[in-house]
Amino acid sequence: MKHTLSVLVENQPGVLSKVSGLFARRGFNIDSLAVGIAEDPTISRITIVVDGDDYIVEQVEKQLNKLIPVIKVKVLEPNRFISYELSLIKVGCNTKQRAELMKIAELMHAHIVDVSTTSLTFQFTDNDERTQTLISLLKPYGIKEIVRAGTLAIEKGPSTARKQTSESM
């Protein structure tokens, strides 16, 4: 089962390697990982999607908490958060096909962000399932390159991963 974790860490060099190294040596499987600066610039947020049972998730949470630069680990409750992933997809496209591909973009709410005589690049932000749908629709045209970022997730409603941060902001 997939679990999404929101991890706040001190924004300093080497922290990401500490986190990813921990996953590797304890045999935890990372599905995706995304890092960026949080609301406080001294803090980074790592969103991790882990595949594993409850035992694994409990261990991931506890072992992450043992890392000194980790400030807070929150396992997001299923259905209580929204998540998105960003994809950039470059497709082969001649002038005749361009209109068809623009239709697909419109249908899927994808953006066309680059165009040339032989290619089109889509920018798409949604969940994994919808991204797969778009990819299957584009496949017949010849996908040249796919660039996907890790999943980002945020809790629904007013709650945050780290209460103190939201109050102090």
Binding site: Q59, K66, I68
Partner: protein, 541 residues
């Protein structure tokens, strides 16, 4: 103006460090330059790994963090086994390494190694210093992290230019403030209440004492809890020495090489109170089966240990000293008499009447260690190596008021000699006895030079069977007697080797002789090596 090197020395002084172990090299020279002007004593070891083991022995015996120092590259990588050994046994250690100049980092220059990266899995935390002004904060944090919560090694890697760079002034922080590090010490009141109810309801309760009790200095609290509750106690290897072995309700060591009666009692218990024990595979072979049959109370300062190897029904996160003190105050003795009779009967039934003689011309190691333990002072520190000698020592040496130090988690051969010299420097007035096999002794025997140079009167027993005995035994039992790479011929005459160092030494080939020489060894004011000829077929248990 003050240089980084001077700041490093001042930080150590501010932490009350008076003794460090190390081996210099170019990248740590600025630090050593200032160390020469400090009152801190430096013990030059013969190989860096042993600086870490010596610091670990010092830390275990003194209760303060041990400090070891090495240069960049090979100096630093040699430390790794020592750091990992300390990590597995939760020993507070500060490892300081020199590093190549910061502008050269990552260019694979002479004696460069990514030591913070390499030590990532074996350190509680590590620092690569990027700014001289950060040094005071980093040292303050390092000592705080190493010695609080679940203790462990912290590495500080200092590029040589960070040691030579100067800043305006040195101010040592009053305290460390680390946003993501706040270990919980007070046990949750509700959980303690639940534990007390479970103890009241239990028919066959047992206390399992682990190394965490030793680390927390909770010996008196555990004894009070056991006495007030009347619950029998078993110990893991790391918990040896908390309860004197001749106590009535002490049942012995559990685990693969433990006492059969202790394992049986643990298996039949309906309530297991794990105290600072991480349920390692050598201690408990089938933890989940045990958790199905018995209620498990798990007390540990590290929340990640709870539920890692065994389901805990009543977890208590906190300082075991505080938790045990509270439990000891509130518990009442209502252990059913049948259970006590039962565990005492097992203890009697499983204890062999005597140890059989195993051939003339040999010292029988188990009976010799028992006899030796009678001769030692009550507060003696026993340091064992790894292999058969470790199990002989763990099972047969009666630790009374003293300590039993060994590499329980990582099982590092060559640990004993350097750890013993560290322990002796921490407690110069106490007897420190080091027990090795001829395999493990040869891994660290270069440190005899360190003993001589610094006149450290450690007593060493080498159990010589010309075998890597424990692996030999595994090959006999599990690999149809296909013995390979376990015959240890080519060893020097250890007595003459000792004499070459100017260390007094003697051979024993029977128990009477061994006991006579042991008395002489203990009476000596100097280091002494007693080499015991042991039958290669002498069993571990």
């Amino acid at each position: 103006m003050i240089s980084g090197a001077e700041i490093m020395v001042k930080c150590l002084e501010s932490e009350g460090v008076d003794l460090v172990f190390g081996y210099p090299g170019a990248a740590i020279c600025p630090f050593y330059d200032y160390l020469s002007r400090s009152s801190i004593r430096h013990i030059l070891v013969r190989e860096e790994q042993n600086a870490a083991h010596a610091a670990s022995g010092y830390a275990r015996a003194s209760g303060k963090p041990g400090v070891c120092i090495a240069t960049s590259g090979p100096g630093a990588t040699n430390l790794i086994t020592g750091i990992a050994t300390a990590y597995m046994d939760s020993i507070p250690l500060i490892a300081i390494t020199g590093q190549v100049s910061s502008e050269l980092l990552g260019r694979d220059v002479f004696q460069e190694a990514d030591i913070t990266g390499a030590c990532e899995p074996f350190t509680k935390h590590s620092y690569l210093v990027k700014n001289t002004a950060d040094l005071p904060r980093i040292f303050k944090e390092a000592f705080h992290i190493a010695s609080t919560g679940r203790p462990g090694p912290v590495l500080i890697d200092v590029p040589v230019d960070m040691q030579t760079a100067e800043i305006q002034e040195f101010v040592y922080p009053q305290k460390a403030n680390i946003i993501g590090y706040k270990p919980r010490t007070q046990g949750h009141a509700m959980q303690i209440k639940k534990a007390l109810i479970a103890i009241t309801e239990a028919q066959r309760p047992i206390i399992c004492c682990g190394g965490g009790v030793v680390l927390a200095g909770a010996r008196n609290e555990l004894i009070a809890f056991a006495q007030n509750s009347g619950i029998p106690v078993v110990s893991t290897m790391m918990g040896i020495g908390v309860i004197p072995m001749d106590s009535r309700l002490y049942l012995g060591m559990i685990g693969m090489h433990g006492h059969a009666n202790a394992n049986r009692a643990m298996k039949e218990a309906d309530l297991v109170i794990l105290c600072g024990a991480r349920v390692g595979d050598r201690a408990v072979s089938a933890p989940q089966q045990m958790a199905k049959k018995a209620t498990i109370i798990h007390i540990d300062i590290d929340p990640a240990e709870i539920g890692k190897n065994m389901t805990a029904h009543i977890p208590i996160v906190g300082d075991i000293r505080l938790v045990l003190r509270e439990l000891a105050e509130k518990v009442t003795n209502i252990v059913p008499e049948e259970w006590i009779t039962c565990v005492l009967r097992y203890k009697e039934e499983y204890t062999p009447a005597g140890i059989p003689e195993n051939g003339t011309g040999f010292v029988e190691p188990r009976s010799f260690i028992r006899a030796l333990s009678q001769k030692m002072e009550d507060n003696a520190i026993l340091v064992s190596d790894v292999g058969q000698n470790q199990i002989w020592a763990a099972r047969n040496f009666n630790v009374k008021e003293g300590r039993f130090l060994t590499s329980g988690g990582l099982g590092t051969m060559g640990y004993a000699l350097p750890a013993a010299l560290g322990a002796k420097l921490a407690k110069p007035k106490r007897q420190v006895l080091c027990i090795c096999g001829d395999g493990s002794f040869q891994m660290a025997m270069c440190e005899l030079g360190t003993l001589c140079q610094n006149q450290i009167p450690v007593k060493i027993i080498v159990m010589q069977n010309d075998r890597l005995g424990m692996v030999w035994e595994i090959q006999t039992k599990k690999y149809k007697g296909h013995h390979i790479a376990t015959q240890l011929s080519g060893s020097p005459d250890f007595v003459r080797l000792a004499q070459a160092y100017g260390i007094e030494a003697a051979y024993a080939d029977c128990n009477d002789e061994a006991e006579r020489l042991a008395a002489k060894m203990l009476a000596s004011e100097h280091a002494f090596i007693l080499v015991c000829r042991v039958n290669p077929d002498a069993p571990t248990i």
